[in-house]
Symmetry: C2
DNA sequence: TTGAAAGCGGTACCAG
DNA sequence: CTGGTACCGCTTTCAA
């Protein structure tokens, strides 16, 4: 069923039917109701491509899958982000399109998406320090919003980020307050902006306690389970092992926990772990592990907020840059008293 | 840059330029080269919507995000599937569009996608036993391929699935061969077709060893970490606890490991765990934990295979139904000798 | 081998 | 308040 046949059935012009369906005021109520009824009856939906051609907008938002370069695996919370963003976009009539790049040349893809008119805007994931994609998107004039920020980027841009620095500062301070002095940091790749900020928060908190950061307690790499495992094992083998560890991702944390277990130690007794995670069963079940921030649900929420901002941005490109800072919740466990400090 | 201005710059008609760019044979080589050069120079890309309008195809494949109903969280391997599928689709000029439904009425979304002409085909995720979406898609005539199968579906349909039954049969048998007699199964919701098949494989293997399945050792629910934790804890508290556990997902397995640890037991010594996982560091590091199948990479591979089949299917709708069975690898650990059996 | 023109299915301007 | 018509950018007959 298309507009032409629908209007013929109604004995009206395409113009009138279109207007009735799109809420234009100059249509009589009687006609509007009649048209809406018929549209419902025939299950009419305007063709997306035709509509897009006529209006010059695609009503599609693009996103490039953030795959880790080495293992071409996707962050496990990606789905949650997409779920949130897609839901929010749908509320404004937008669809979400996913792309992927094999090589490093993400710029080529953005250029092409724009040239084809395939998307009205894009979401930029996993920003690096001094990320070249930002000036590129600005140059080609494709509306975009960044999930995260990019240190070193001078110009204005729109972003939604979680307060990584502050979160890790608080988490570190929390551990310091419990009496820990040797705190390990398993961080993401420090080309990634978020990782840089997390380390900053960590070292700031240490500095506040008069502790110089120990390179042997800081690792940064792709956040896989084996990374978490290997580095934790190394750290636990040190002459002065850490009594607490900050893990920057769910996968890494799994490795951390396993390494602790294999070393014959117990989490929350011999070694405290703070990590991004969202399963509060740790707390519910009395495990002495403070949880840092609710990744899965917060990522979903970030997707929603980000999508809303992007839609607003496209509607009004002249508006001032949009920024939004999410504060991570620091959910702490039942360990109100100090965790026994080893060594 | 659009076709009109490009052809004007070349002093050719739109027709000729279009033909040259789309590889039609009736264009002289000289013209073709000239056109291609100009297209490159001006970075010309045909407008997707216009092309789609003219050809009647959208060159877009749709997919609805499989969110778990209760916790609205997305399977962590979803991103890997999308990554694989998107990559394969891109090779054929297709884009991937993601949708999401809030209510149970996925059918409405399919109807709309089809009516709008937004997609040329869809990928169906997470099929249930007797899944109503399959007859629905058939009815509305939208090409589709199922990731998994649906027991009880009489008509023909296209699918790509992993051999869940056989995998769990082999895994169970492997444990039986090691001397285990009490084997727990943490399964997904058994409305899901894959969960039903996994249980079948499990019970078949037990039957082969003359063991009657014990309801106290079988749990099935949404595969979260807390599910894995809680049910494992329950099972370990039994008078006759399991000496091995089959966990149906990565998240559940995390919970399993934690419960084992909390009970003061050691994995691979007191309790063996077989699970879907892909981080081979377990093996590399000598942990006595057999790994069942490489989820992340195999899901990615499934995405690729599925996308290829769907593209072929759309190109030739009259062809016989496409089916593809993936055999899961059973990667076993270093425990060539029997694992000490407790109790 | 090339080009003119008629769609594809909508939107939106301009009349009436 | 309603309708005629000119696009939107591309493909595809049909003629030349």
């Amino acid at each position: 069923m298309n507009l032409k046949t629908l209007s013929e059935k109604l004995g009206l012009s395409q113009t009138t039917v279109s207007r009735a369906l799109n809420g234009y005021p100059e249509v009589s109520t009687a006609t509007r109701l009649r048209v809406e009824e018929a549209a419902r009856q025939y299950n009419y939906r305007p063709n997306s491509r035709a509509k897009g051609l006529a209006t010059g907008r695609s009503m599609v938002i693009g996103q490039i899958i953030p795959t880790s370069i080495q293992h071409e695996m996707v962050n496990p919370v990606f789905g949650d982000f997409v779920s949130g963003a897609t839901q929010a976009l749908a509320g404004h009539g937008y669809d979400m399109m996913i792309s992927r790049v094999l090589d490093e040349d993400e710029g080529k893809v953005y250029r092409e998406l724009h040239a084809r008119g395939a998307v009205d805007g894009v979401i930029l994931q996993g920003p690096l320090v001094e990320d070249p994609r930002i000036p590129l998107l600005r140059e080609i004039g494709l509306p975009f919003i960044v999930h995260g920020r990019s240190t070193g980027e001078a110009g204005p841009y729109n972003w939604v980020d979680v307060n990584n620095r502050r979160s890790f500062q608080r988490a570190t301070r929390f551990l310091l307050d419990l009496g820990h002095r040797r705190i390990g940091l398993l961080n993401g790749h420090e080309t990634m902006d978020f990782a840089r900020r997390r380390r900053a928060g960590y070292t700031e908190a240490l500095a506040g306690a008069g502790i110089a950061p120990d390179p042997a307690l800081m690792a940064s790499d792709e956040m896989t389970e084996s990374f978490g495992f290997a580095r934790t094992r190394d750290m636990l083998a040190l002459a002065a092992p850490p009594t607490a560890i900050l893990a920057s991702s769910m996968l890494a944390a799994i490795g951390v926990r396993r390494a602790i277990q294999e070393a014959g130690l117990r989490m929350g007794r011999d070694v405290s772990v703070i990590t991004h995670d969202d399963d509060l069963s740790y707390l519910k079940n009395g495990e002495d592990v403070p949880i840092f921030t609710a990744t899965r649900s917060s990522v979903r929420r970030a997707g929603i907020i980000l999508a809303e901002k992007l839609v607003a941005l496209i509607a009004n490109p002249a508006a001032a840059p949009v920024t939004h800072m999410l504060e991570a919740e620091l959910v702490v466990g039942r360990s109100t008293g100090p965790v026994p400090v080893k060594g």
